[in-house]
């Protein structure tokens, strides 16, 4: 568990570095680059939050005090970066919009700029985001930090060609308003309800891509289970008890016990043999 948390923390840091170097990676950059960056960005926010609670539990025992502090600091950094998107466009939530009604419906949600935030595993993540009329021409990595969003409004933006994979990791998304130029991510089969009016296309109620009868679902390899990963997307995560590359590893090696027994046996044998065999050897 300790190493797992460290790895996540590292990824978060990497993601930050990448972002600083290239503040907005557009469609024109290499696919591979986008892919890595996206993976890092998603991991930095969603996975770290998913892992946070487990990490907190394990931190005290396995990471030690310093590790615990470091983890908290990294979580805080990730959080701040994720919330930058809230102040990207001026103004607050639009009255009467779907995002506003969602955010006001639950008093636990905290309003901030064009976002509302919710508490998840001890940190704040974006739950609703209204980027209506925000002059967005493409989706950048900053927006991907909002992958925890439930209600998202992107309408009235000059967006062109947003690839489906942009929405990878948007597993909570239940309401998505898009300009008419864009189709619902994952296609019509990935949403229960799609409606079109004069200015926007609304995709609502995301389907579970692992139990979707309308499309071919991914068969996950051995030791892994299918998990939804955004509209029309799924991923194979290691089943409980398995970890590592290709989920090939199970459990953790009893290092202390093994080396304890081995050193004891070695010391005993050495001592025994020294006394019985080499005691009388004349040094030449």
């Amino acid at each position: 568990m300790g190493s797992c948390v460290e790895e996540e923390a590292r990824r978060c840091g990497d993601g930050k570095k990448l972002r600083q170097r290239r503040p907005d990676v557009g469609e024109e950059s290499s696919e591979r680059h986008i892919h890595t960056e996206r993976a890092l960005a998603i991991l930095s926010v969603t996975t770290i939050n998913k892992l946070a609670s487990k990490a907190m539990a394990a931190a005290g025992t396995e990471l030690g005090w310093h590790g615990y502090c470091l983890l908290l600091a990294l979580l805080a950094v990730c959080e701040v970066m994720a919330q930058q998107v809230c102040s990207r466009c001026p103004g607050d939530l639009r009255n009467g919009s779907e995002v506003a009604s969602f955010c006001h419906s639950n008093p636990k949600l905290e309003l901030k700029g064009r976002c509302c935030l919710r508490k998840q595993d001890g940190s704040e993540v974006i739950a609703g985001l209204d980027l209506w009329n925000c002059s967005l021409t493409h989706m950048d990595t900053e927006l991907q930090n909002a992958s925890t969003v439930v209600v998202l409004d992107l309408s009235e933006n000059p967006l062109q060609n947003v690839s489906d994979s942009f929405f990878q990791g948007f597993v909570y998304l239940q309401y998505l308003a898009l300009p008419l130029t864009l189709d619902c991510p994952g296609g019509n089969v990935s949403w229960e309800n799609i409606s079109v009016d004069t200015s926007e296309r609304i995709c609502s109620q995301q389907k579970d891509s692992c139990n979707n009868t309308a499309q071919l679902t991914l068969l996950c390899p051995e030791n892994s289970l299918c998990t939804p990963d955004g509209p029309g997307m799924s991923q194979c995560l290691c089943a409980a008890g398995f970890h590592g590359y290709k989920c090939l590893r199970e459990g953790s090696f009893p290092t202390i016990m093994f080396f304890g027994i081995l050193s004891f046996v070695t010391a005993t044998c050495s001592l025994l043999l020294w006394c019985t065999q080499r005691w009388k050897v004349k040094s030449s």
Partner: protein, 513 residues
């Protein structure tokens, strides 16, 4: 040891004792607890070495899985996330990874062979306890880096792997000449065939131990298989430093006598074990100690060792025989699962019977050669029968018990002689009368014999895969038969010499009495 000799003497003084009983008693009491400790230490040193070698072949599937990305990789279905399924692509697919693993095997065998020629020479010049311990510990470290550290650091690099594996071959090669030489120092020619036959089971025991250790922790990841076997090997190296006596001289015992000439009849074969009179023994003891004080025996040169009678011929014979033997070691499970469609785990288990046959064959044939006093005739008979066994095995029906029986018989006739040449005969050659007391040659000679053999084995791995690919398995067996026959051809001059010596001995005995 002193007491045991006296015991032997006492039995001589009592004529009422049955001869065989006395011989048995002296056979056992001849060996002190030092002998047992040396036997076990050298046995397990080499067994641990073979265990970590076996680890590599047992985790090959995990390794090739670790080095490749998930195969199911069309543009429509990509197994996500990339970190788990597609982040490592050292090789495009499993087939190329398997080829690379085969390459590593070949690299290992070649560097092992080269190392044997060198390390035998080193072993005779330095303290063999330190050489053996160094070989075990350093190769354990190299394998630890190969299998565990690279995985922990996620550092995968083909050239780095090849470098480490050739280093591993060189370092591992220091051990075999040393353990054979140490065994040769402690156990004299009388009874050597039997003792060494039993002792050379260490490789097979190591294989079984390695398979067990590696598979029991494989679920934690292949790196832990390496961690466990290399740690145990390292610990073994440490124990060797503390516990191993390289020669009886270290505790003031005489070295065992190499009684070669009067081992013609059954009675004579046992004679050196019981006729050490007190005066003889004292003289020997004295002389050894004296020579110890005066000068250390000079180590023999590499070329000089090659020119010792029998070394070259046995080396060539062993090259052919080890080729066949190692081909069985590497290819038998693959052949079984390929040819009979048996499951891989079943084939792995079944192939143990070949090892079992080899252990029994080595011991029984060693015992017979002890009683006969000559080894070449036993080897020749066994190898001629091996040709028949090979032919029979190539026509084995698709039936596991029958196959296992023929496999054991084949192991008996091929693994047996192979074990004898690599251990007992190497020791005989390194301690023969020509260089007795004048030089240290044991490790050098063992290195030459086993090194030539390993070259044969390395070439064989390549040839077997080639022949199997081009002509089919039947031709592989014909190739094995050819190689076994070639072994007989190389042994024939030695056979002729030993037979004529035997005949001459008989004749002189008849004339004398």
């Amino acid at each position: 040891m002193k007491e045991s000799f006296k015991g032997g003497h006492r039995t001589m003084a009592r004529p009422s004792f049955s001869w065989r009983h006395a011989a048995n008693r002296t056979f056992l009491s001849k060996y002190s607890h030092h002998h047992i400790a040396v036997f076990l230490l050298t046995f397990f040193s080499y067994a641990l070495l073979h265990a970590s070698r076996k680890t590599f072949s047992n985790v090959k599937v995990s390794l090739s899985s670790q080095w490749t990305s998930f195969p199911f990789n069309s543009s429509v279905f990509k197994v996500e996330p990339e970190e788990i399924w597609r982040s490592i692509h050292l090789f495009p697919n499993t087939a190329t990874a398997t080829l690379f693993l085969g390459l590593l095997d070949t690299i290992f065998l070649f560097s092992y062979a080269v190392g044997l020629f060198i390390s035998g020479v080193i072993g005779d010049r330095l303290n063999m306890r330190w050489v053996l311990s160094f070989g075990m510990c350093s190769s354990a470290l190299v394998m630890f880096v190969f299998g565990t550290v690279t995985e922990w650091l996620h550092f995968y690099n083909k050239i780095f792997y090849c470098t480490l594996w050739s280093m591993n071959g060189l370092l591992q090669s220091t051990c075999w000449p040393c353990v054979v030489a140490i065994m040769g120092n402690w156990f004299g020619k009388a009874g050597r065939g039997f003792i060494f036959g039993l002792w050379s089971a260490c490789a097979s025991v190591g294989n079984i131990l390695g398979a067990f250790l590696a598979s029991s922790v494989l679920l934690y990841g292949y790196e832990y298989s390496f961690l466990v076997t290399t740690s145990v090997q390292f610990a073994g190296g440490l124990i060797v430093v503390f516990g191993l006596l390289t020669s009886p001289k270290e505790v003031g015992f005489p070295e065992p006598a190499e009684e070669d000439e009067n081992a013609g009849s059954e009675e004579d074969a046992h004679r050196p074990l019981i006729i050490n009179s007190d005066s003889d023994e004292d003289e020997q003891n004295h002389s050894v100690e004296a020579s110890d004080l005066v000068r250390q025996p000079q180590a023999i040169g590499f070329l000089q060792a090659c020119c010792l009678p029998g070394v070259l011929l046995y080396s060539l014979a062993y090259a052919c025989l080890k080729l066949v033997n190692y081909s069985f070691f590497f290819w038998l499970p693959f052949y079984l699962s390929n040819n009979f469609d048996w499951k891989e785990a079943e084939a792995d288990q079944l192939s143990i019977w070949y090892d079992v046959g080899g252990i029994i064959g080595g011991t029984v044939q060693g015992l017979i050669s002890d009683m006969l006093g000559k080894r070449a005739p036993v080897l020749t008979v066994s190898l001629v029968l091996a040709v028949g066994a090979l032919y029979g095995y190539s026509r084995s029906p698709n039936n596991k018990p029958i196959n296992a029986v023929i496999m054991t018989v084949t192991g008996f006739f091929i693994g047996g002689p192979s074990n004898i040449i690599s251990s007992a005969i190497s020791a005989d050659l390194g301690r023969q009368d020509m260089i007795k007391d004048s030089s240290e040659a044991l490790a050098t000679v063992t290195g030459i014999v086993d090194g030539t053999g390993s070259i044969g084995a390395a070439v064989g791995q390549f040839l077997v895969s080639l022949i199997q690919d081009q002509l089919g398995w039947m031709w592989v067996f014909y190739f094995f038969i050819l190689m076994t026959s070639l072994t007989v051809v190389f042994i024939t001059p030695l056979l002729v010499r030993e037979i004529s010596a035997l005949v001459q001995e008989r004749r002189s005995r008849i004339l004398a009495g």
